[in-house]
């Protein structure tokens, strides 16, 4: 007797898909729990955690932002292997304005978000016509080459970077700014990707020529998606600059490109929430593994391979499926 697996929506999922859900606490909880969990968790965690783990939470939030930025780009048909470009651009813009003009972090961070995003968009403008892996290849190269440009031209402190930048008022401000930005980006951009605007972006990913057929200028949309994504990355970079009070060539390092991709792949691409989940798993894990030093990056590499081969949908989709559906074995009909 052959059996096959059948997946059916849970009753509560079907019931809570409608306005009548407000009649029952149980169904309201079912709907609200997955949304409230990250919000409450992110707001309470800084209070519970001690100094060191608060810093870890900060870098979780920063990498989650980078992973979200990767995911938005990937959903609009641009797979980037160089998130470090966005991160580094934001970091340098914030650092330069703070160092040479003495502006406060509360001015430089928003400024770096916008200007850094704009610079990255301009830099990648010639590459926008490329698709798929061609785009990926170029984005891998650009941050690594920008490092050489800074090294060669000795601008902005050259190899030594700029240190002694002004810090944010306190550790609480740092961590809550990061967490608030993460929550805003997660929920805001999830909403955006579900709107008509996001539908066009996803359409470009699925079949760009049919979107062109609909009379939509896909390059203009790609520019906008690129700006949104690079602004998120630039914000993360600008924040980190003021936390470290330093900006230099390491901001273009490969780590800032690889970890976000690893987070998005492990968590599950295409949902933004998956990218965040991935960052919440990988960054603390890498802190715990700090003892083994360089071997960490070996593990990232292997994680990437294992997840892309064995669980390409990622953890988030897997959990989501379990939450919404149950599975049972049924006989195969003859």
């Amino acid at each position: 007797m052959k059996k096959r697996k059948e997946r059916i929506d849970r009753g509560i999922k079907a019931r809570s898909g409608d306005i009548f859900t407000v009649c029952s606490w149980r169904e309201m909880t079912y709907l609200a729990f997955p949304r409230l969990l990250p919000i409450v968790g992110c707001l309470l965690l800084p209070l519970i955690l001690s100094g060191y783990w608060q810093k870890v939470l900060l870098s979780v939030a920063v990498f989650a932002l980078l992973a979200i930025s990767w995911d938005i780009l990937a959903q609009s048909s641009m797979v980037s292997l160089g998130q470090a470009l966005f991160f580094g651009m934001g970091a340098y813009v914030a650092g330069v304005f703070n160092h040479y003009f003495g502006w406060s972090p509360f001015v430089t961070i928003p400024l770096a978000t916008v200007l850094g995003g704009a610079f990255c968009t301009l830099l990648l403008l010639p590459v926008l016509r490329l698709r798929g892996i061609y785009f990926a290849m170029v984005t891998l190269i650009i941050p690594l080459m920008l490092v050489r440009v800074i090294e060669a031209s000795k601008i902005f402190g050259g190899t030594e970077g700029i240190s002694g930048l002004s810090p944010l008022p306190s550790a609480w401000v740092e961590v809550y700014v990061a967490v608030a930005a993460l929550l805003a980006a997660l929920f805001g951009f999830r909403r955006m990707m579900d709107s008509d605007y996001g539908l066009v972006l996803k359409g470009i990913n699925d079949n760009d020529r049919s979107v062109m057929n609909a009379g939509i200028n896909i390059y203009w949309y790609k520019v906008q998606a690129l700006f949104i994504s690079s602004a998120i990355g630039a914000f993360a970079g600008a924040l980190m600059t003021h936390v470290y009070m330093f900006v230099g060539m390491p901001v273009f390092a490969l780590d800032y490109s690889i970890l976000p991709i690893a987070a998005a792949v492990v968590g599950g691409p295409g949902t933004l929430a998956g990218a965040t989940l991935g960052a919440f798993i990988l960054v603390p894990l890498s802190e715990l593994l700090r003892g083994i030093g360089g071997l960490r990056i070996v593990f990232y590499g292997l994680f990437l391979v294992i997840f892309i081969v064995a669980l390409p949908e990622g953890l988030f989709h897997y959990i989501q499926r379990k939450y919404f559906q149950f599975e049972r074995l049924v006989e195969v009909e003859k």
Partner: protein, 290 residues
């Protein structure tokens, strides 16, 4: 000074061709963008070093074993990992990137860092050519580079396996109906690409030291050459190598060493603006790029 620079520029261009040839072969035939390429390049050099210094094998033998092992590893990676994500270009990229990262960082973790990791030159001699000292190794680079390009051309045009390679590259489904096993051809293309990386590394690395960061640089140089030349086109790769190779060497001599990488970046961006498909990128131009 001028003619000396030209000589060195030619040598630089040929070594760029050598570096990019394997990447281009793999991509041109099976469409797999092998981001583990730099890892193969450095891995082969370290293997050769281990055979030579730990196991005390003769130099020629250790080079041959290193090249063959790398070729085998390439095939193994295709059969175990890549075959499962074949056709999903971006999964391939992420998977090979992960493999390359793991291999390179493993070498770094095992402590293969330092100036003692060098390979000896084949023959220790040098000549005066056009007012510049050129050592024998650099001449070997030119000879082996030219031999590989000619050999590959003959292989892909006059042997049945080579013709099958081109068949798969042109139209995979039609090639399948003619009884060519596209999975095995793709396996061979990845392993030949790895083998070419190994040959390039054993020829070029005696001029410097084996370092892990070189693995990333090699990947970037190979990518830059392939993008400028047009992916999958051998003629384009050679032309692009000469464009970038000459530009690099001349900035090196007349401007400053620091600016060489920037020249490649500028070349890359200009080519992308003017001709997004690369200098010679005709193949599948419409489908893969706009």
């Amino acid at each position: 000074m001028f003619w000396g620079t030209v000589v060195y520029a030619v040598i630089n261009s040929v070594s760029l061709t050598l570096v990019a040839l394997g990447f281009n072969l793999t991509f041109g035939i099976s469409g797999v963008a092998n981001f583990a390429y730099g890892a193969f390049y450095i891995g082969a050099a370290f293997l050769c070093w281990i055979f030579l210094n730990t196991l005390h094998l003769p130099y020629l033998l250790s080079v041959v074993i290193a090249v063959l092992t790398t070729t085998g590893v390439g095939a193994l990676i295709y059969r175990t990992v890549l075959v499962r994500v074949r056709g999903q270009a971006l999964s391939e990229v992420i998977a090979t990137f992960g493999i390359g990262l793991a291999i390179l960082e493993l070498f770094r973790y095992l402590g293969f860092i330092g100036f003692e990791y060098t390979l000896p030159v084949f023959v220790d001699k040098s000549f005066m050519i056009a007012g510049a000292f050129v050592d024998m190794q650099r001449i070997f680079i030119v000879i082996i580079g030219a031999a590989l390009v000619t050999g590959l051309w003959l292989f892909t045009h006059y042997t049945s396996l080579g013709l099958a390679f081109r068949g798969i590259a042109q139209d995979e489904r039609t090639a399948l109906t003619f009884g060519m096993n596209s999975d095995w051809i793709a396996t061979l293309s990845v392993s030949f690409g790895a083998g070419l990386a190994a040959i390039a590394s054993t020829v070029i690395i005696p001029l410097g030291t084996i370092s892990v960061s070189e693995g990333y640089d090699v990947l970037i140089r190979a990518l830059a050459v392939c993008i400028v030349g047009g992916l999958g086109s051998t003629g384009g790769v050679i032309l692009a190598s000469f464009v970038i190779g000459f530009a690099e060497r001349f900035t090196d001599t007349y401007v400053s060493t620091h600016w060489t990488m920037i020249v490649s970046l500028a070349a890359l961006l200009i080519v992308l603006i003017v001709k997004p498909s690369g200098l010679f990128g005709k193949q599948k131009e419409l489908e893969e790029r706009i």
